[in-house]
Symmetry: C2
Subunit: 679 residues, 2 copies
C-alpha cells in the first residue's frame, strides 16, 4: 500500500478530466504505483534513473537548448552565438523532456531535476516573442546564423512543424501543472496557444503538416475549461483533408490532408502524423461525443490492425516517406516501425479504450508497449532505436541511423528518445480505470499497488465514498498468475481484462477461494466481471508458447512463424546460435516449443527454446529451376540444433548481429522426396 505525495496524488495524469463521453475513465495519476520488482515498475525506475537524465544531457549536446539561447540578447551571459542546429522542430525535444520530467514527478512524488526545469522554463519565457510565438527555428532565422533569411511564422505550414512544437509545449505545461501544481510552463504555453486560437477564430487557416497540437489543445481545455481550445481543435480538423497543405515531395495523404477526418476509412501517409491525429480525433470525441469522430477512428483502427501492423505492434512499413504502405505490405527486414509510431499507437489505443471500454484496445496497447516500444530502448536506458526492424540480415549495412544495426544515444532527428521517456513516465496511469457502472477495471497486469478514493471527482461514476486499496502481485508477463488482494472487501465491482491471446477455456479465475466460470464471467467487451465485495482474486492465464502465422496476404513472411508467449513476441539472435548462419536456420514446429530459463543479463523472466535445423545455403544460386531443386529450396535436411528465442524487447543488447522475428518453418517432406533430413 502506498501513500501518494500530498496534494499531487489526486491530480490527473495524461488525458485528465471528466471526459463526458468516456465509457471508462482514468484514475488520478497517483492512484497506481508500479512496484520495483515487476517489468513495468522496473522500466519506470530505469526511465527515471537513466533515460530522463540522458535526454536532459542530450538537450545540451544536441544544441536544442542552444537554439533557444541564440535568441537571448547578445549581452546576456547565457547568449549562445553559434548557428541553429538540428531539424527545425528540435524545440520539441526540449518540451517532450520537460513533459517526461513532469510525469516522473507525479509518479515519484519527488521533484526531480527541478532546478534544470526552472532554468529551461525561464529561458523559454525570456525568448518568447510578444505574441507568445515560440519556435526557435523561425525566431532565429535572421539570416545571420547560416539559416534561411527571416521566414515568417506559419509561412510553411506543410513543413514548418510550428504547431507541432506548440503542441508539445502545451503538453509539457499541462503535465507540469498537473504533476507539481506549478503553472509557470503552462503560462508560457498558453500565451502562444491563445494567439493561435485567436488567429483561427479570425479566419486564419492554420493546419499543421505534423498533427500533435490537436490532443494538446484538448488537454488545455481539460485543464482550463476554456472551450475556445476545443473550438480550435474542431476548426483545425475541419481545415484538414482538403489539400490545403499542398504537396511535394510527398502527396497530400502524407500529411493526412487528402481526406477529411470524418470520412477517412483507412490510415494513410506518414505513420506518426496519422496516429497523433487519430489520438487527437478521439480526444475531441471524449469531450464532445460526436459519433462521427469515433466512428472514423474505429474504422481506421480496424484497418491498421487488420492490414498494416507488424506482429511486434510496429506501424509504418516504409522508409522512404515513413508511411504505412499498402495493405499487407509488412516486410520484416525493411520494417520502418518508428519508435514514435509505437508511442503514438499506445496513446491512440489508450483513448480508444477510454472511449469504448473495449479490451481489444487494451490488448493492442499492451502489445505495442511490451514489444515495439520496449525494444526501442536499450537495457541500460540510454540508447535507442529510431526504426524497429523485425529482421537484421547477415551483411546488413547499418551505417544510417534510420536503419541502424544497434541502438544509438541520440539522433539528428531526435523525436524518439524523449517521446519514449514521457510515455514510460506515465504508463502507471494506464493500469486501471473506473467504468461508468463504478467498477474498477484492470487493463495491465504487473506488480502494483492501487489506492483510489472512488468517490472523488476523477474516476467518477457511482461513488461509494470508500477508498479502495488493492495490491496486485504477479510475475507477469513471465508468469500468468495474477493475484489481487484488497485490504477490505471491495466496495465496487472489479473487471479484469482477458487478453485476446488467452484462451478462455484454459484461463482460471478464483474469487475468495471460489472458482468462477471464465466464459460466464466474460462480458461483451473482453473483461471478466467480478461483483462488489471481493477480497482476493486469482487470475491464471495460459502461458504456453505459441507459434503465430500471418494472414496469407502478408507475402513477406510466408512459410514462417513468429514465437510468442503471453503478450511477449520473441526473436532469434545470431549470438544465441553460434556456428550457424542465422538465415540458414529453420524451425521444426512439430518438435514443440518449451519455456526456457530467465536471462538475468537481458532482464527477462523467461525465454523460449525449440528445435531447428540449419542447412548452409552458401553457394546456392540466386535462382534455379524448381525441377532441378530436389531439396525444395534448401530448407530441408541440414543439421539439427537447439533454437533459443529471446523477447524482441531486448534484442540487440549483446552486440550487433543478425536477428529475426519471423522464422522459416521446416518444410514437410514433399511427395517423392527420398529423405527427410541429413545430407
Amino acid at each position: 500500500m502506498t501513500a501518494t505525495a500530498p496534494g499531487t496524488g489526486a491530480r490527473p495524469g495524461p488525458v485528465g478530466g471528466t471526459l463526458p463521453s468516456a465509457r471508462t475513465r482514468p484514475l488520478p495519476a497517483g492512484a497506481v504505483r508500479l512496484g520495483p520488482s515487476g517489468l513495468l515498475g522496473r522500466w519506470q525506475q530505469r526511465n527515471a534513473a537513466a533515460t530522463v537524465p540522458h535526454c536532459l544531457g542530450a538537450l545540451e549536446t544536441s544544441g536544442a537548448l542552444d537554439n533557444l539561447r541564440r535568441l537571448l540578447d547578445p549581452a546576456d551571459p547565457e547568449h549562445h552565438a553559434g548557428p541553429y542546429r538540428g531539424f527545425n522542430f528540435a524545440d520539441s525535444d526540449v518540451h517532450k523532456t520537460l513533459e517526461a520530467i513532469a510525469w516522473e514527478s507525479a509518479r515519484s512524488g519527488a521533484a526531480p531535476h527541478e532546478a534544470e526545469v526552472r532554468r529551461v522554463v525561464d529561458l523559454l519565457r525570456r525568448v518568447q516573442g510578444p505574441s507568445g510565438y515560440l519556435d526557435s527555428h523561425v525566431l532565429g532565422s535572421d539570416g545571420t546564423a547560416g539559416t534561411a533569411p527571416s521566414p515568417e511564422p506559419y509561412a510553411d505550414l506543410r513543413w514548418g512543424h510550428e504547431l507541432y512544437v506548440l503542441g508539445h509545449l502545451v503538453q509539457a505545461g499541462v503535465a507540469r501543472a498537473r504533476a507539481t501544481g506549478q503553472d509557470d510552463l503552462l503560462d508560457v504555453a498558453m500565451t502562444w496557444a491563445d494567439d493561435v486560437v485567436s488567429r483561427l477564430a479570425a479566419g486564419e487557416e492554420l493546419v499543421c503538416g505534423h498533427p500533435e497540437v490537436e490532443s494538446a489543445f484538448v488537454e488545455l481545455f481539460r485543464e482550463t475549461g476554456d472551450a475556445a481550445y476545443l473550438e480550435a481543435v474542431r476548426r483545425m480538423l475541419e481545415l484538414r483533408g482538403h489539400g490545403r497543405l499542398g504537396s511535394g515531395p510527398f502527396e497530400p495523404a502524407y500529411h493526412q490532408d487528402a481526406t477529411p477526418v470524418r470520412e477517412a476509412t483507412e490510415v494513410a501517409g506518414h505513420a506518426v502524423r496519422q496516429l497523433y491525429l487519430l489520438a487527437g480525433v478521439v480526444d475531441l470525441y471524449l469531450e464532445t461525443g460526436e459519433d462521427a469522430l469515433l466512428a472514423a477512428a474505429a474504422r481506421q483502427w480496424d484497418d491498421v490492425h487488420g492490414r498494416r501492423t507488424y506482429v511486434t505492434g510496429g506501424m509504418g512499413s516504409r522508409h522512404k516517406d515513413e508511411s504505412f504502405g499498402d495493405p499487407f505490405e509488412l516486410p520484416p527486414d525493411r520494417a520502418y516501425a518508428e519508435s514514435c509510431a509505437g508511442v503514438a499507437s499506445v496513446l491512440w489505443d489508450w483513448r480508444m479504450l477510454l472511449a469504448t471500454g473495449e479490451a481489444r484496445y487494451a490488448d493492442s496497447l499492451e502489445h505495442a508497449l511490451l514489444n515495439v516500444v520496449a525494444a526501442a530502448t536499450s537495457t541500460d536506458g540510454t540508447a535507442f532505436f529510431y526504426s524497429n526492424p523485425l529482421q537484421v540480415r547477415t551483411g546488413h549495412d547499418g551505417a544510417d541511423e534510420y536503419q541502424a544495426s544497434g541502438r544509438r544515444g541520440w539522433f539528428a532527428c531526435a523525436c524518439c528518445p524523449p517521446n519514449l521517456a514521457r510515455l514510460v513516465a506515465s504508463l502507471h496511469t494506464m493500469v486501471a480505470t473506473r467504468d461508468g457502472d463504478g467498477a474498477l477495471v484492470v487493463h495491465l497486469y504487473g506488480d502494483a499497488d492501487l489506492e483510489a478514493d472512488l468517490g472523488s471527482e476523477l474516476g467518477a461514476g457511482p461513488g461509494t465514498g470508500a477508498p479502495l486499496r488493492l495490491a496486485m502481485r504477479t510475475g507477469y508477463p513471465w508468469d500468468g498468475d495474477v493475484v489481487l488482494t484488497a485490504d477490505a472487501p471491495s466496495p465496487v465491482p472489479l473487471a479484469l481484462r482477458l487478453p485476446g491471446w488467452a484462451d478462455a477455456a484454459r484461463t482460471r479465475l478464483d474469487v475468495d477461494g471460489v472458482e468462477v466460470d471464465v466464459p460466464t464471467a466474460l462480458d461483451g467487451r473482453g473483461y471478466l466481471r467480478i461483483g462488489a465485495g471481493a477480497r482476493v482474486v486469482r487470475l491464471s492465464l495460459p502461458m504456453e508458447p505459441r507459434a503465430i502465422t500471418a494472414h496469407p496476404h502478408v507475402d513477406a513472411v510466408r512459410g514462417c512463424v513468429a514465437l510468442a508467449r503471453g503478450p511477449v513476441v520473441h526473436c532469434l539472435e545470431q549470438v544465441d546460435h553460434a556456428g550457424v548462419v542465422l538465415e540458414d536456420v529453420v524451425l521444426d514446429v512439430a518438435a514443440g516449443l518449451e519455456v526456457g530459463p530467465p536471462d538475468d543479463t537481458l532482464g527477462v523472466g523467461a525465454t523460449l527454446v525449440g528445435t531447428g535445423r540449419a542447412t548452409p545455403a552458401a553457394g546456392t544460386p540466386l535462382y534455379r529451376d524448381r525441377a532441378r531443386d530436389a531439396a525444395g529450396g534448401g530448407v530441408e535436411g541440414g543439421v539439427e540444433l537447439p533454437v533459443r528465442a529471446v523477447p524482441y524487447a531486448v534484442w540487440g543488447n549483446r552486440g550487433e548481429g543478425p536477428m529475426r522475428v519471423w522464422i522459416p518453418v521446416a518444410a514437410p517432406p514433399r511427395p517423392g522426396d527420398r529423405r527427410r533430413s541429413g545430407r
Copy 2:
C-alpha cells in the same frame, strides 16, 4: 541480306574502337539488321516510330529545351523568359534523346529528325560558355529566375550532376559522329570535355556524384585517339572512393565514394550510379588491360548477380535511396528496380562480355533486356515505368510516379524514357561479335540479317578478306528453333550462345544436316563452337515452361515460384483472373505448366497456363495462433481455377491492377490434415 547505307555501315556503334583488351569485339553498327517480324526488330521499329518522337516532344513540354533557351540573349526571338524547370540534370534528357536519334540513324540508314537535331545542336552551341561549360541549370542560376543565386560550376560535385550531363553530351556527340559523320555535336561536347580534362590535369579534384562521364570519356578517346581522355578517366577513378564527395543526406557509399574502385568487393549505394561506374571501369580496362579493374568489376558482378538481382533482371531494391540494399533483400512489392538500372546493367554486361567473351554476361544482358528493360515501356511505345515492381497488390496506392500502378508519359525526373530509347536504338549492335580467334559469335537470337566484312578493322582478328552474309531466322523467344543460313560456306568459325537456362542435354544442334553433340561442342565460355565452312546451322533450344525458386535467404518470396519459358519471365495479372482476388491464388505446381496461345493484343508469341486454387482470405485475422489454424495459413483448399501467366515485359498494358511475378505454391498436405482441398 541487307545493304547498309553508304559510308555508315562500316562505322562503329557504341563501344566502338579497336578495344585492345577485348576477348571479343563488336561488329560495325551496320553489320546486323534486325528484321521487322522478330521481337527485337519490332521493338526497334516501335522505338523509332513512337518512343523517339515522344521523347523529342517531351523535351519541349517538360521545359528541358526552354532551360537552354533561357540562356539566349533576351533579344533573341528564341529566348525563353520563364524559370528553369525540372531537376538540375534535365539537360541530360536532351542529350540522351540526341544519342537515341543518332543510333536510330545508324540503324535505319536514314536521318530521322535531322532538322530538329540541327536546331538543338545550334542552340547548344549558342548557349555554351566560353570555357565550353554547358550546364543550363548552373549557367541559368542568376537569381533572376527563381533558382538559387549564381552557383559556380563544379561547386556542388556531390549533387550538381554537371559531369553526368557532360557525359551524356559526349555520348550524344560521339553517336552522332559515328552514325552520320557529322561532328557538329561532337565539337560542342569536346569543347566542354577538354576544359574538364585541363582542370583535372591542373589538379582540380573533379569527381561527380553521379558517374557516367567515365564511359563517355573512354568513348571520346576511342573516337579521337587522344589519350588525355583516358588519363582523365583514370584520374577520376582514383579520386573516387575516399569520401571526397562528403555525405548527407546519404552516406558516401551512395555515391560509390566509400571504397576505391579497385578495392570494391560488393556493389554499393545508388544502383544506377554504381552500374554506370562499373561500365566505365570496364571501358577503361578494355583500353588499358589493367587487370585490377576487370577483377574488381567481376567481383561486383558476382555479388550483384548472386545476391542482389531480381528474377526479372531488375536491380536496386530500395526506394529511399535507390540503392541495392542488403544481400538477398529483394522484396517483390517494394522492388524499386529503376528502368535506368536495367539499362545500365545491360551496358555493363555488354562491356563484361566484350572483356571476357563469357556467355554468362550475354545471358544476363538478354535476361535484363527481355524482362525489366522491356517492361519499362508500354506496348505502344509512349508510356514508361520509372520503377519496375514484381508485385502490385490489391489496394496499391500508385499516386507517386516512383511507385505508379501504370506507365506514365513522362516524369519530373525523366531519366528513364530517353535512356530506354538510346539503348533500344542500338541493341542490334549486341547481337553478335567477332572473337579473338576470328569466329563470329552470336549472343542474341532473333530475326536478323548479318553482313560483315571480316577483314575490316572493326571486328578485327584473323581476317579472311571475305564477307560473311548470314540470315538468322527464328520465332525466339517464343520458339526455341534458330536457323542460321550463310549465303556461302562461312569463311570463319561460328559460335552460338547456349543460354544458361537451357539444359545442354536437351538442346539440339545440326550443322549442314549433321547432328552435333552439344556437350562436346560447348566451349568453356558457354558457346557452341562450329568450325569454318558451315552453311546452315539449326539450333533447337528446350522451351518447356519452368518454375523457378529463389535462394532460401530471399525471405520475401519463400514458398513461391516464378514462371519462365526460355529467357522470358512471366507474371499473373488480375485481369486474367476474374472473380478471384489475385492475392488469394496459389499455384498447383504438381499439376504442371503448359504453353498457352499467343496474345496479339500484347504482342507476345506465347503465354503460360497452369492450375491454381483460390481461397478467399478476407476476414482472416492479421495474425493467429498456428495451433488454431488447421488450414496452414489459408493457402490450402479453395476453388480450383485456371491460371494464366503473361510475359512480365507486357504487364500493365490492359489497365491498372494487381500483378505478381512470384506466385505462392499450394502447400502439400501437413501430417494430420484430414483433407486436401475443398472447404
